[in-house]
Assembly symmetry: C2
Homo-oligomer: 309 residues x 2
């Protein structure tokens, strides 16, 4: 195999009660990447379409992730990368994660798959570090493994793939405002109240339990964020209105996707997710802000090979 | 049925990463209670053996829990209660929970079971409130439901019974020192670092996942407490030595049971749990402190009826 074309999906991190540890993979939104072997060693990003992003390997998340992989697994040829962005940078649905994960996934395939998808996570995290300053795994993990993933520990890293009910659908709205990750970080407190933390981890544990048992009551009751959302939601115009209409339309829960500005809702069944989408649409068109709306089942597979030769 | 005799087991709350939300039920240690219908209305505690505890209904955790149940479910007869304590008060393995849960369980049986075990939890919590000032559910839940339980929310309350691997065994050491719950509380900070909270909830979520999947690696990796143990362990003489020998003997993890002073270890298999018990014994006999050691499988059933007539 000398060339591979990939679909690298978007993802939702945090998922209300799972700040920095939980994420799930989306299906219809994503980037495409073409990666091919070259006789010239190293990583060369030769084309980026759809977004203005740096071609310099060291400044591009895909480049940095790829270099980290090659450092541990050197080979006597190189790779060129084309990136066709379908995900907007800064949207909060894992734009950098898709590129970082795509680069290491594709190169691993072209090298004959020396590593598992789980083993690729730590290299994809290097791209995340370039993008946001911290090597977090809550987006790259669902992109590589599909479905819901839990980051038990981001240092090791120790990532656990979680099951989920097949009737679970996500509705995601992306208000096209600029919300820098650094600003979304700045509103967080270094210290939090212990009683709120207990509430949060009780909910997260119940959400994990609900995912294992297909218990929609548990999922619904636990999709609550008492730590981050109270601070960050103020940065997203119309967040409270979106959340209200999502819940009224039957969503199990609604929260900030990653560090925002995208907002996600989870619903039982496609029909309810569609009603949530309509509700969000009717609500947000009153705001003077451009937006995109997506409806997606939970993508069970993560990155997929479109073609190879 | 006019009289019922119960075995009310001890329990371990918190379980390292699950402060205030997780607990499991022990098997060989517990109280016995006899509860019988009387023509005289109300709750009358007529005998307590094994511990010095108040007979006055309003001052006894079993009495208070029973009264709370009768307030919601009045009946035209009363109950007298005998308590034979096998669990030491203040040991950290759910002495008050066993009595509170036993009282409401027994009365519910004698009333013809109007409530489920799960529905009894909120009444048993009233006893916990008397004992410690807060109506926590992390001990009464495993006593009533058996096995591992998760308190998603103690206000509702919303309690989830978790599965667990049958090979899981607990070793519990009770150093006979006085450690007041109020002192164990006083060392805790009202605020904690967000990064530590993330580590804690990542571990708790992974522990729940490990319990669902019988994944002993997940259980082992996640039995870590970065929030409470660093403060409370200083109140338990020899805690670090006990933990060290437990891990060296093969335990999956070791931590403080409830608010202490008891220390628990979880192991895969009876043989390892026995080695942990021997290790703890050899270590602790060098300390000039009386202690008791227990080895238990996880009690899947909780409170059991010994006899009834």
């Amino acid at each position: 195999m000398n060339e591979i074309k990939l679909f690298c999906p978007a993802s939702v991190a945090n998922v209300s009660c799972g700040f920095d540890v939980l994420g799930f993979c989306l299906e219809p939104i994503g980037d495409e990447m073409v990666i091919r072997k070259t006789s010239k060693k190293g990583i060369h990003i030769i084309k980026i379409e759809g977004q203005k992003l740096p071609l310099e390997t060291q400044k591009n998340v895909a480049g940095v992730a790829a270099l980290a992989l090659l450092e541990d697994h050197p080979c006597n040829y190189g790779f060129e990368i084309e990136i066709y962005k379908g995900i907007k940078a800064g949207s909060g649905i894992g734009s950098s994660a898709a590129s970082s994960a795509g680069a290491v996934f594709g190169i691993n395939e072209l090298m004959g798959k020396p590593l598992s998808r789980n083993e690729l996570i730590k290299y994809a995290m290097k791209g995340e570090k370039l993008a946001s300053g911290s090597a977090h795994a809550d987006n790259v993990s669902p992109v590589l493994l599909g479905g819901f993933t839990l980051v038990r520990c981001s240092k090791t890293p120790d990532i656990i793939a979680l099951p989920f009910p097949s009737e679970l659908y996500a509705t995601v709205i992306h208000p096209k405002i600029e919300l820098r990750t650094s600003d979304a970080r700045a509103v967080l407190k270094k210290k939090i109240y212990l009683d709120k933390a207990i509430e949060q981890w009780g909910n997260l544990a119940a959400l994990v339990s609900g995912l294992y048992t297909n218990n929609f009551d548990s999922i619904k009751n636990s999709l609550v964020d008492v730590i981050i959302e109270p601070h960050r939601s103020a940065l997203i115009p119309g967040f409270q209105e979106l959340k209200k209409v999502a819940i009224e339309s039957g969503a199990l829960g609604c929260g900030i996707s990653g560090s925002g500005p995208s907002v996600f809702a989870l619903s039982k069944g496609h029909k309810t997710a569609l009603e949530v989408q309509n509700g969000m649409n009717n609500t947000y068109k009153k705001f003077n802000i451009e937006y995109e709306l997506h409806l997606s089942r939970i993508n069970p597979k993560g990155i997929q090979i479109i073609s190879s030769k």
